[in-house]
């Protein structure tokens, strides 16, 4: 049930990002005469100070926000897989070094580091922002994957592969990694949420590419355009709501997977009344 609702939300936003701009067709940055209008038949979600249509911005913003989220989650997970699996499989000194590195990145506060790194970027394009977010966001996945690899590497099929003379890299990526795909999927989903939030935070501070429309940059312009003081709730509510909804969708899918693994977590009606 949770997984279904979660998937429903994700499919909705994925379709919005992929097909939405084709359906709407308008330019999200196009300004018009009717600035700061509330939701109406013409502008479903109202307009900004410069008369940009907010629904159009939301639909185009989905591309950037989700694109950056997915792109940096892919990079972060590649790093996590590399560090976690290699450390977990080889053990010994390699594992020690990689574990310490993972734990260090786990403890260091990510957003301040992202802000500092973004401060040094000569150009803050979509790609470089995604890389910066990924560099600070891989540690959690690496830690989980390392723990799993430790338990998998003792199993018979890995021993068999080693006995038949397969090289370590082949064992790691063709024998162990397929078994860990569910774990990788969960950690990927969690990383996407974190990356979308980080991108939104960075754009909100005006530290990402402000020439492209993303949900974070919409909030930046809403804040700087005094949307709050004017009372233009339709300007800042939708972008934040979209971010939270995507996060909810991803979390629901993740919690659903957890519940399959740990049936105790399910919310069943407990017959036995505890007093």
């Amino acid at each position: 049930m949770k997984i279904k609702i979660g998937f429903g939300i994700l499919v909705f936003f994925a379709l919005m990002a992929l097909a939405g701009p084709l359906l709407i067709g308008a330019d999200p940055a196009a300004t018009s005469e009717d600035g700061l209008q509330g939701p109406s038949a013409e502008h479903w979600l109202g307009t900004t100070q410069t008369g940009q249509d907010i629904l159009t911005q939301i639909v185009y913003g989905a591309r950037i926000s989700m694109g950056v989220g997915v792109l940096s989650a892919v990079i972060a997970n590649l790093l996590a897989i590399l560090v976690g699996l290699v450390g977990g499989y080889f053990g010994g000194a390699v594992d020690e070094v990689l574990s310490v590195l993972t734990n260090i990145f786990l403890v260091l506060p990510a957003l301040p580091l992202i802000i500092v790194l973004a401060g040094y970027l000569p150009q803050r394009g979509v790609g470089s922002v995604a890389v910066v977010i990924a560099v600070t966001g891989w540690a959690w996945g690496a830690r989980v994957l390392r723990a799993q690899t430790l338990s998998v590497r003792r199993r018979d099929f890995v021993q068999a592969a080693r006995a038949s003379g397969e090289g370590p890299l082949r064992i790691i990526f063709f024998e162990i990694m397929p078994v860990l795909l569910p774990v990788i999927a969960t950690s990927f989903l969690a990383t996407v949420v974190a990356a979308i939030l980080a991108e939104a935070g960075l754009s909100f501070l005006g530290l990402a590419d402000l020439s492209t429309v993303s949900w974070g940059s919409m909030l930046y312009f809403a804040q700087n355009g005094q949307a709050l003081l004017i009372g233009a709730w339709w300007w800042f509510i939708p972008p934040g709501l979209c971010i939270a909804l995507i996060g909810t969708g991803l979390a629901l899918v993740n919690f659903g997977i957890d519940e399959i693994a740990n049936p105790r977590l399910r919310t069943v009606k407990v017959r036995k009344a505890r007093t």
Binding site: P109, G201, A244
Partner: protein, 326 residues
């Protein structure tokens, strides 16, 4: 105490890593920060400022190793260079002025959020199958809400529309800072909305985390045994189940601190709260690299100290970590 010694060792290592990272970032990122600054300001930089920056970075003609040693030496003397935004104020002074605000705000808010969230999680696991389950979807939603958006919504509702609370600054313009009741009241009044933001945005993680661990713990034999002995449910819930469930919860709480601090930076900025988060943004906007770096270092070290405090709590709660021999 071997547990604590090992953790302390790890934090020292991490502190060294943060310090070294701080040294390497300006050197590894594309472009020379000093030239970047001069280019962006189209040459409108005073020579003293350029000089101060070079000194702050320890950028000189010496080799990298010598620069690193100089940097460590400056750091040991508490010298973080001069801020460019507030030239010629020392970065350490800027930080010393803004840090208390952040520590007060984030510290208190995090503590409140931890207490409420964990208690709610315990209750929700205990009363599974009742109306309390209705909190779950809400918590799932709140878990993904950006801090700054919560802040914006609170500003809109309670600040602008209802006008119950002030929406910026740390104390009113009409009070003089000092040890007076009036000033304290003004500070509390101004901290209300930012603190509520941090509590709301960070509580969901605590609720969900505690509930999940607690539910798993409730299935353990010793909990069934305690119930069978006829202990009061309050005793079973808090002294048997929650006491054990809280251990993993403390670990995940410590790990989430970095995230909370990140969110607090954004919250401060929305409320123009004069803490370290607002200073960080000022630093980035003004290409004030010494300030940025100093603040990153201080935030990292603060998170490390908080993590160590969480470890201390863990030692108090879990007798196994106090055993001398392992």
């Amino acid at each position: 105490m071997r547990f604590l010694a090992r953790r302390l060792g790890f934090y020292l290592l991490t502190a060294w890593a943060a310090i070294t990272l701080n040294f390497l970032i300006p050197r590894l990122m594309p472009g020379d920060p000093v030239e970047l600054l001069v280019a962006r300001m189209k040459g409108n930089v005073e020579p003293e400022a350029i000089d101060a920056m070079r000194r702050a970075f320890g950028i000189s003609d010496a080799n990298l190793w010598q620069q690193y040693l100089d940097y460590l030496g400056n750091l040991a003397r508490g010298e973080l260079g001069r801020s460019i935004t507030f030239f010629p104020t020392e970065v350490s002074t800027v930080i010393a002025d803004s840090l208390p605000w952040t520590v007060g705000l984030v510290g208190v808010a995090t503590l409140i959020s931890y207490l409420i969230g964990t208690s709610l999680g315990v209750l929700m696991a205990w009363k599974r199958g009742t109306w309390l389950d209705g909190v779950l979807p809400a918590a799932t939603f709140m878990h993904a809400v950006p801090y700054f958006w919560v802040a914006l919504a609170l500003v809109f509702v309670f600040g602008v529309t209802l006008q119950w609370f002030p929406v910026s600054r740390a104390y009113g313009l009409d009070v003089m800072p000092g040890m007076t009741g009036e000033f304290a009241a003004s500070v509390l009044y101004h901290a209300a909305l930012p603190a509520i933001t941090i509590v709301i945005a960070s509580m969901a993680d605590r609720i969900l985390g505690m509930r999940n661990v607690m539910v798993t713990t409730l299935g353990e034999d010793y909990v069934v045994m305690a119930e069978a002995k006829g202990l009061t449910s309050r005793r079973v819930m808090w002294a048997y189940a929650a006491r054990n469930a809280i251990l993993p919860n403390i670990t995940s709480f410590a790990l989430s601190l970095g995230f909370v601090v990140g969110g607090s930076v954004l919250t401060e900025i929305v409320f123009s709260y004069p803490g370290i988060g607002s200073m960080l943004l000022k630093g980035v906007e003004n290409e004030d690299f010494p300030l940025m770096q100093g603040i990153f270092l201080v935030i990292s070290l603060a998170v490390l100290v908080a993590n160590f405090l969480a470890d201390l709590a863990y030692v108090v709660l879990d007798p196994r970590t106090r055993q001398e021999s392992e």
